[in-house]
Amino acid sequence: MIPLEFYLILSGVIFGMGLISVLINRNLILVLISLEVMLAGVNLALVALSHYMNDIRGQVLALFSIAVAAGSVAVGLSLLVAIFDLKRTIDTEELKELKEEVSSD
């Protein structure tokens, strides 16, 4: 029997790699891909805890998480297409309409 900590550390490592990639990438498609990686890590932790605690509610929760991830990524990709339609770019550095102008003095 493999210890629970191995699964949890594996899920933590995958979550962290996705998190770092979300923080430092400037391509919006790669940011969404990294979000999917983060969700895979979290679901892995849920299923591992469900198995080692002999309770099936973790798997039900992972099922809900998969459903919500599908909805969120659909909205994210449609927003990406709309942004590309308006600005002809998906570079996160170029999208600063809501940023406050810094006065020079």
Partner: protein
């Protein structure tokens, strides 16, 4: 033997994630992501979650990755800048991300399983994993299941509204 197989899955999942997040071409990144999801599905089989393993393959590999590929087709992978890959001042954000990752790993590895429910392996063996999940889903979580249906309906409308021609 089981340790060897698990070690293979640990190393290959970390390697595949690295490959998926460092590719310059987004189509390659999506294909590496597909490989990662297949490995995650096999790790679910390690944990006696057959239904979730199949749901993972169907939903992620079947629906989400196709959605990613269609978006890349719409936009065109050539439009993405390949020289400036990371945002300005990415070193500070990398440090913040590493600190949060370290905190998450330490917190996760301290978890102790004091609680033990009634769904042991011998209990699930009597009916099967899918039956047990369905029983829990439609009895205890029936309202939550209904709300997940609403949560999937609203983005369907929202996608149609957002993605129509804006000009």
């Amino acid at each position: 033997m089981i340790y060897l197989i698990f070690a293979y899955f640990c190393l290959s999942m970390v390697g595949i994630t690295t490959m998926a997040l460092t590719r310059k071409n987004p189509v390659h990144a999506v294909l590496w992501l597909l490989l990662l999801f297949l490995h995650v599905a096999v790790v679910y089989l390690f944990l006696n979650a057959e239904f979730l393993s199949m749901a993972q393959i169907i939903v992620y590999a079947g629906a989400i990755l196709v959605m990613f590929l269609f978006t890349i087709f719409f936009i065109g992978a050539k439009e993405l800048s390949k020289e400036k890959r990371y945002i300005k001042l990415w070193e500070g954000r990398l440090l913040i991300g590493l600190a949060m990752t370290a905190a998450a790993i330490v917190a996760l590895s301290k978890i102790k399983t004091t609680f033990s429910g009634k769904y042991t392996i011998s209990f699930i063996e009597k009916t099967g994993n899918t039956y047990a999940i369905g029983e829990m889903l439609f009895n205890e979580y029936s309202l939550a299941f209904f709300m997940v249906g609403v949560i999937l309906l609203i983005p369907m409308i929202a996608v149609g509204v957002i993605a129509r021609k804006l000009r």
